[in-house]
Subunit: 493 residues, 2 copies
């Protein structure tokens, strides 16, 4: 033991959890997967790495990529250089291109996985984090109905994670609920997941989060109508708006819009957009009708008329109509949502926590025309949404809003009153486990009080006392102890 | 589309699966987790990376480590250098040391995760693969009963993965089976997971795999008894035996055993070990009694007597006795199992497929005295076992022995006879999903034959025909179609 001890330090940006927190994390992952599968989405996993030339296929290499080096790479090694994936969209595009002939389209897939970004360590920035992505990919075309379906799925997922009030389940038969996630089961069975404390959420009309939807065709059409036709310019302006900036005359000059008439037009659009931004709570129909009216009456003056404006408005209307079954305010149209990434071409989404909008969007995405053009000579349009799981989880953890409970997954601790009881203890445990009841056997014939304290500390609700002559079980919450048969006993509901 | 297309190639050593195979992989992971939790083990996850000084704390840096570099690392960056984890034992040791005060001991944890080894690409070698580890860590001491419990857990896990014949479950009540894994549920419900085709396994007495156990104290004691006292020498000999080599006089000289008398002694031990190796199928009692007899009668001549020989024999006997409830041949004592790694100090395990022993051990591990001495000034003995999941899965996949079935997780496809039916289709789907039934809605009003073909191709067993006037459902396997109510219909068991 004279050896030097290397005291391990947490690595900034690489979160890890103690077992009780990990149980909640696992319940989150199970819930997300259960909802995705309830809509028939297939799960896939891809390697942690991609070849650097695949990552760089679109011409730019993000500098946040971690590149792998073998510690003792030999001279002359000719391996492809590998980088850790920095999102799950590049891997999806590569996967679809590579396995094209083995997939059914529309290809509906979910992927819950870690991604890595080699940023400089700083507080609150993750360098390893989990994203939960769903995408639907078509060949040549993809029905607009998926744009609504994806939002509905994410609404259901996030509702489960953020634990809003739920109606009691209708009468459940034997097989019902087979695919309910543990979070849902525990909730529907009234079990002991403590409710989230969300100020003002429970019972009131406010929802804990809101999905905001727009369609980039509207803004792109408007910008094209004033002759900003270069995609790069439009992307620059979109990125700029995306960061919350306002358009001011200086900016327009910067983007090459110098004629004063066009400046005025853009200012007018901007003014209209500000109106929409201030009306986030309004029904979409109001915005839609108002916009149509402004255009129709010539109140918005267009230099030329790009019909994608109307296309975008109609698509957005259709998506909103398909989501009308959701609670009021769950999904709203919000023309200020633009997303900076240049590959979105239609519907775009962002999602905000009601009581923490400053966290930024917790679930974002959109529709794109061409997923995998860099890897395959096919047109593969798609639509996708992604939850930043680590960021959302970490926010709720820090805010004390996660239902952190038991450490142990066991429902029963079989006590070991003496070494002579070991055989009976193990047989009882086997009988319980055979019927799917998670069961620990205490490891040594310590005093019973110590064994019960162990169960309490780990949150195991029942302690079993084995005896060849007759078993009994004690429920710690009530203190009641009663005879029980390991072949038939079940934990009370 | 004039852009150059980068055609993606599979990266050697980084497996990925199509959705139907991924479903089986996911069922494997669920099953492993369900069994681990049934014994009260907590799941943990650790980052993909560890600091290089943590990896190198024991003084040697394995050259198979992948080191991370930021693609555009700035001059003067002072970040800790990071390497991808190459196993889950170093992360466990670091985790236990770092979170020591937040953990309960004995700490029972499982971890199913990916590890990376930067080997040169070659056929059949994984550079990214999944391991499923269970370990129990004590402080200062850890009862021997865990050495048996871990083998019993892995027996249950592997039995599920390799799908041997199972007794029908006893009468199951409402809540029973809540924690059965999907693999177990499907089997216990007689569902459509095809049985594994394992030559000679089914119905016969041969099991599809066998866990072999020894105790290193026996061999170490024997070697110490002939005055090979240096641990490095013992480790060298163990590694040598581990690779299947025999001890010959030249080897003994190489290891510094030059006196002819001692050579003779070692040869005698070796002879005895060969006897044990040839008796793998015998009951442990036979080996135990024989060994005791040889020592007691002086038939094995010991230069000095190291009592760890007997300690090892007694421990091995106790472990075998605790496993006597398992089928005959499931776990056998086999003194030829030594494991090359120098940290094992007692029980050691290896596991072989009956019909593919050449695959090597699929589940290995052992007991160690001191898990985390490099990171914390505490004595933390433990025992652990690890399944090489990727290697086993890949072997069965290549051999055509995996129950690959449906692509879609959905049980129902709601057809879309016309665009006018969309509302009824979506309402039916919502009602089914609300009761936990995985349901897809077909995406476009194609001809019904095409919609049914889609369901068949994806393995969705039921097609739902929505109609506000009255719904019906068709079961593809039987061709039967009957009226159904989305509020009450359940898939037939």
């Amino acid at each position: 033991m004279a050896r030097k001890i290397i005291k391990p330090q947490p690595i900034s940006g690489f979160p890890e959890y103690t077992p009780a927190v990990q149980r909640v994390w696992q319940a989150w992952c199970d819930h997300m997967r259960a909802v995705f599968e309830r809509y028939g989405f297939c799960g896939i996993e891809t390697p942690a790495v991609e070849a650097l030339d695949v990552i760089a296929a679109k011409g730019e290499v993000d500098k946040e990529i971690y590149v792998l080096e073998r510690l003792h790479r030999a001279e002359g090694d000719k391996d492809a250089r590998l980088g850790l994936r920095f999102d799950q969209t590049v891997p999806l595009a590569r996967y679809v291109a590579q396995h094209f002939n083995d997939l059914d389209f529309p290809f509906k897939r979910y992927q819950i996985g870690r991604v890595w970004r080699g940023e400089r360590p700083q507080a609150g920035r993750f360098r390893e984090f989990t994203q939960a992505d769903i995408d639907v990919i078509g060949v040549d075309a993809l029905p607009l109905s998926f744009d609504a379906e994806l939002a509905a799925i994410m609404w259901e997922v996030l509702s489960g994670l953020l634990n809003p009030p739920q109606p009691p389940p209708s009468a459940r038969g034997g097989n019902d609920g087979a695919n309910l996630s543990p979070l849902e089961q525990e909730r529907s069975e009234g079990a002991n997941l403590p409710p989230l404390e969300q100020g003002g959420v429970r019972g009131g009309s406010a929802l804990p989060f809101q999905i905001r939807v727009s369609n980039r065709k509207i803004l792109i059409g408007l910008l094209k109508s004033v002759c900003i036709r270069k995609n790069e310019e439009i992307t620059k302006i979109l990125s700029f708006l995306d960061k919350g900036h306002e358009i001011h005359p200086g900016l327009l000059r910067e983007f090459g819009v110098t004629e004063s008439e066009k400046q005025k037009i853009l200012m007018e659009f901007h003014y209209q957009f500000k109106i929409f931004q201030n009306k986030k709570g309004e029904t979409f129909n109001y915005i839609y009708e108002n916009m149509k009216h402004l255009i129709g009456e010539g109140l918005i003056y267009l230099d030329t008329y790009d019909e994608s404006i109307e296309e975008g408005l109609d698509e957005l209307k259709s998506v909103m109509a398909d989501l009308s079954h959701l609670p009021k305010g769950a999904v709203v149209a919000d023309l200020s949502i633009v997303r900076g990434l240049d590959y979105y071409t239609g519907t775009v989404y962002e999602t905000f926590l009601t009581d923490a909008p400053e966290l930024g969007s917790i679930c974002s995405g959109g529709r794109y025309d061409d997923l995998a053009g860099a890897y395959i000579n096919k047109k593969l349009p798609g639509v996708g949404l992604s939850i930043g799981v680590s960021r959302l989880f970490s926010h709720l953890l820090a805010a004390g809003k996660l239902p952190i409970g038991r450490v142990s997954p066991a429902e029963v601790l079989v006590a070991l009153p003496s070494e002579d009881h070991r055989k009976a203890a193990q047989e009882a445990a086997r009988a319980l486990r055979q019927r799917g009841i998670n069961t620990e056997v205490y490891h040594a014939p310590h005093k019973i009080g110590r064994q019960i304290a162990y169960a309490e500390k780990r949150g195991v609700p029942h302690v079993w006392f084995p005896d060849a002559g007759g078993h009994s079980v004690k429920t710690l919450a009530t203190g009641q102890q009663a005879p029980a048969d390991p072949q038939t006993w079940r934990p009370p509901a």
